[in-house]
């Protein structure tokens, strides 16, 4: 631990120069620095987002323009374009599957938690680095291996996994059922195993760091909401990912070693299989025991980031700091006991359905509280629309739109009709996909100056926001209509049925909107990479924010603070405090230095604070005496 022995500014500085002679490999590749690991996750996440987005454009072409001749895609897709110039039906299912897997795990889990938990936890709690830099590095490289394997699976002859991102057996267990369940599925399982290991290594680190390495004065009640969110996310991941691992392991056994955990009474490909006694529903229980918490694993960090961005750019304290924490705690706990609402019509006991309907609708309450708190934070603020702020407001909008449709789906009676239709697709793409994605983008815009010491271009950010915000609504809002009309998901084409032989115009509209939205992301990409090298130089606290990361040098080196780690004296949301000169007071400013703006109860704390400061300076003097 680098935190322990730093004494005065000067010695710390010398220390620094001696210790770290990074070469290219240790600095950019096998780095143990949390900031570099965060950036590695971010860049990999962006890469995957492009792949995942591209896959969605491919299948949207099929859904919006089923008659279109896709011969021009042959150089890219080869044999997956049929002789008549259509997309192969099996490959369509593989596209849907890989789009889901990539977006949920590789972009929104790794890209969001991996980037911001790594980058922000030490900076915002005042730590030199993660508790274990080495484990942190392993976490990224496990993820990298996982990525490579998943990427390879896109190119094999039988195609990648094609049973939907949930990979329900028996479809995913039997190669006879769909070609993607052969080698593609094997690679999927191997990749996910590495991915889970990566998540766990990261999660243990985040939890340990938040609990143990907070700087002096940084009590849990003074943590920024980002840190609370990352902390609780890591707890959820740590408790739920192992269950997915178990589910995957049993699936491997069923696939390769002839066990019957999930398989029973199957006649396929002209033969009756010997497996009996297994239950496909068991897999669904295990999968959704991760699968539902996973929703919050991707959503909570985004909500944390938004809380921070909205407070900063409203120049107001986040409304109901404690209520926000309690809501997140509530969501964390409840997220473990709602999983079976994905299975109302799976054939499980309907009594279980009643229980899970009840629990599911409870989880709407903390979510509602969060929304109302965001709104009240905006109310009577002094709002500055940085790109990060725009994306945060967009997130709140998606969170409302997608969250409300969850009330339909959580009601088992209504879910009978809506389950596995486009209504579900619209719901989760808004509340989990787009909301989390907006949180990710908001985070990038907001902390880019800290990551690279330069500013992203704001006007390109505005264009990016408006195109994406309108685009996302144009893509996903119409899906509610076709969902209510009963269009099933994962359909290559709907023309085979009378009830769904309509809305070709709406599907075309959605596809066009999807393509435009995807294209708009290249504005962001350009902005990101251009600004990294040529952007305007950032000032040390460009958003005039209160949190600790803005007290580091503009581009922090190893150990984050050249001298001693600053002490924290107040909560992170002292914006526009009455009496204060500026409209923000950083966490490092002692209450005793701001008598003009202290609230009555804070005035009392000043006394104890003075004592602490006195003790501390005495200790410091004693230390110095010893060293010299």
């Amino acid at each position: 631990m680098a935190t322990a022995s730093v004494a005065t500014h000067d010695t710390a500085h010398d220390h620094h120069d001696h210790e770290h002679h990074d070469n290219f490999v240790t600095k950019y590749i096998f780095s143990t620095d949390h900031k570099m690991i965060g950036k590695q996750f971010l860049i990999t996440g962006i890469f995957w987002a492009l792949i995942g987005g591209l896959l969605s454009v491919l299948f949207r072409l099929q859904l919006g323009f089923p008659e279109m001749n896709l011969e021009w895609l042959r150089p890219l897709l080869g044999g997956w374009i049929t002789e008549t110039g259509q997309l192969d039906q099996t490959f369509y299912l593989a596209l849907v599957t890989m789009h889901g897997t990539i977006m949920v795990f590789f972009v929104l889990t790794a890209g969001l938690s991996g980037t911001f938990s790594n980058f922000l936890i030490p900076l915002q709690i005042g730590a030199r680095d993660m508790a274990s830099g080495f484990m942190n590095m392993l976490s990224y490289w496990f993820f990298f291996v996982s990525s490579v394997i998943m990427f390879i699976s896109l190119f094999i002859k039988t195609g990648p996994a094609g049973g939907g991102w949930v990979v329900y057996p028996p479809l995913s267990a039997l190669e006879q059922a769909i070609p993607g369940s052969g080698l593609g599925m094997t690679l999927w399982l191997v990749a996910m195993t590495f991915f889970i290991a990566s998540s766990l290594l990261g999660g243990i680190n985040y939890i340990t760091t938040v609990i143990n390495l907070r700087t002096k004065g940084m009590s849990f009640s003074r943590l920024p909401l980002t840190i609370w969110a990352f902390f609780l996310t890591a707890v959820i991941g740590l408790l739920s990912f192992p269950v997915l691992f178990a589910a995957a392991l049993l699936l491997v056994f069923d696939r390769s070693f002839g066990t019957s955990f999930y398989l029973s009474d199957i006649y396929i490909g002209g033969e009756a299989l010997p497996n009996t006694g297994g239950s496909p529903v068991l897999y669904q229980h295990l999968f959704w025991f991760l699968g539902h918490p996973e929703v919050y694993i991707v959503l909570l960090p985004a909500l944390g980031i938004t809380s921070e961005v909205i407070a900063t750019n409203s120049r107001k304290p986040i409304f109901g700091y404690k209520a926000m924490i309690i809501s997140m705690l509530g969501i964390t706990i409840l997220s473990f006991i709602v999983w079976a609402h994905h299975m109302f019509v799976s054939g499980m006991n309907p009594f279980l359905g009643s229980i899970f309907m009840f629990l599911t609708l409870i989880i709407a309450i903390p979510s509602a509280v969060k929304v109302f708190n965001y709104l009240t934070t905006l109310w009577r603020g002094n709002l500055i629309f940085t790109p990060a702020m725009l994306f945060s407001i967009g997130l709140v909008s998606f969170f409302i739109s997608g969250g409300l449709t969850g009330i339909f789906l959580g009601n088992s009676a209504i879910d009978i009709q809506l389950h596995d239709t486009y209504f579900v697709v619209a719901h989760f793409h808004l509340v989990m996909g787009s909301a989390s994605f907006f949180g990710l983008v908001a985070g990038v815009y907001h902390w880019f100056p800290k990551m690279f010491g330069r500013m992203m271009d704001a006007r390109l950010g505005y264009v990016h926001f408006w195109l994406t915000f309108v685009g996302v609504y144009m893509v996903f809002f119409p899906m509610h209509y076709i969902g209510i009309a009963g269009f099933p998901r994962r359909y290559y084409s709907w023309t085979g049925f009378e009830f769904s032989n309509m809305y070709t115009d709406l599907n075309m509209f959605v596809s066009v909107a999807a393509i435009i939205t995807f294209a708009a992301q290249f504005i962001f990409l350009f902005n990101f990479f251009y600004s990294m090298y040529r952007g305007r130089k950032a000032s040390s606290n460009p958003w005039r924010s209160t949190t600790l990361e803005w007290t580091t040098p503009i581009v922090p080196g190893h150990g984050n603070w050249p001298g001693e780690i600053p002490t924290v004296y107040r909560w992170p949301y002292d914006y526009s405090k009455p009496g204060a000169e500026e409209d923000f007071i950083p966490q490092t400013v002692p209450l005793s230095a701001t008598p003009e703006s202290n609230l009555p109860h804070e005035q009392e704390q000043v006394k104890t604070e003075m004592e602490i400061i006195k003790d501390e300076s005495e200790a410091l003097v004693a230390n110095e005496a010893k060293e010299s």
Partner: protein, 339 residues
């Protein structure tokens, strides 16, 4: 040649955009507006939120009303009336919340956009407000949960004794349909008996199988309870009858069921919709492979009398394929020989 021209055009366009962008950046640096806390763009963004609220909100209302008859599927079962009522009640409740929250969410940015002369109000908490907006949603949700739970309990309660049984078996990529025949009881089945001539794996040594008969479509009587017994032969499937508001997974190794009361005949629905070609349909809603989108069957709802007549007209499996009967005889012979 065209490709080349287009490429040149695109390059030109991009470079013009690039130039404009650079010039604007330089101008803003010269003006010093990049140093300001909030530039003129702040006003534009604030205003755009209002535009978004009005334009997209208007679009939503317009389309929702215009298309109502298109996306609102006609209902043809008794419980469907209940679940649809719940759906629209939930829509009303959430719709109000949706509209109020979005009006606030987009008006606040306009109203409270940055002004140098104003300071945001320091308003960190208000426990009374928090309690209100915890309890109000809790109460509303309680009502929704209880009504939903009551409907769900009714729908999933055991089927009445007199329910007409129809068996649906999903396989890649179709549904096979079996009726229990005169004894009203389905014969045993065993997946190991499945073969080209016996795709449902029916055990014809079971007496109850003798009068079982297949059908290319589901025929059911109006106004009487119908019980779908659902199973799958290879992978997961899901029976979805959108007009009946009916959905239940078909699981290999675990038979499932769903009972309901159809309340409109196909003929009535055709008259109502003025569409003589209308049919009730069954689709598959659990991904099952290449032909997932092709598992169509027709449901024909008829008057009870007509249904009884139809029942008597059907030929059993054994009548249709004597080879199946031969199989039994052989087995019976074998058993006899052993004895």
């Amino acid at each position: 040649m065209y490709g080349f021209l287009i490429a040149v055009g695109v390059v030109l366009l991009l470079s013009i955009v690039w130039m404009v962008y650079r010039i604007q950046t330089l101008v803003s640096v010269v003006k010093g507006s990049d140093k300001k806390i909030a530039s003129g763009s702040n006003k534009v963004n604030a205003f755009l939120f209002l535009v978004f609220l009005v334009a997209v909100g208007g679009l939503m209302f317009w389309y929702s009303i215009k298309e109502f008859d298109n996306y609102q599927l006609p209902i043809a079962s008794e419980h469907g009336v209940v679940t649809d009522r719940l759906f629209w009640i939930t829509m009303a409740v959430t719709g109000v919340i949706f509209i109020i929250t979005h009006i606030l969410l987009f008006i606040f940015p306009y109203k409270y956009q940055y002004r140098e002369d104003r300071k945001a109000s320091f308003y960190p908490e208000n426990n009374k407000l928090e309690v209100i907006w915890t309890t109000v949603p809790a109460l509303v949700l309680t009502v929704l949960v209880i009504t939903g739970w009551m409907a769900w309990s009714d729908i999933t309660a055991p089927a009445p004794e007199n329910a007409h049984v129809v068996e649906l078996m999903g396989y890649q990529f179709a549904w096979d349909i079996r009726y229990p025949g005169q004894d009203k009881v389905l014969g045993d089945n065993d997946y190991r008996l499945t073969s080209a001539i016996n795709p449902m794996g029916i055990d014809f040594t079971d007496q109850k199988s003798v009068d079982d008969f297949p059908s290319p479509k589901v025929v059911i009587p109006k106004g009487e309870p119908v019980l779908f017994k659902i199973r799958a032969r290879d992978v997961l499937h899901s029976v979805f009858a959108p007009h009946m508001r009916l959905k239940m997974d078909a699981v290999p190794g675990m038979p499932t069921r769903f009972w309901f009361v159809p309340n409109k005949t196909t003929a009535e629905m055709r008259a109502e919709l003025k569409n003589p070609d209308f049919n009730f349909e069954i689709a598959c809603t659990e991904i099952c492979g290449r032909g997932h989108n092709a598992m169509r069957r027709v449901i024909e709802v008829v008057e009870p009398a007509e249904y009884q007549k139809w029942l008597t007209e059907q030929k059993t499996f054994l009548q249709m394929n004597p080879a199946l009967a031969e199989g039994i005889e052989v087995e019976v012979k074998e058993v006899a020989e052993i004895q």
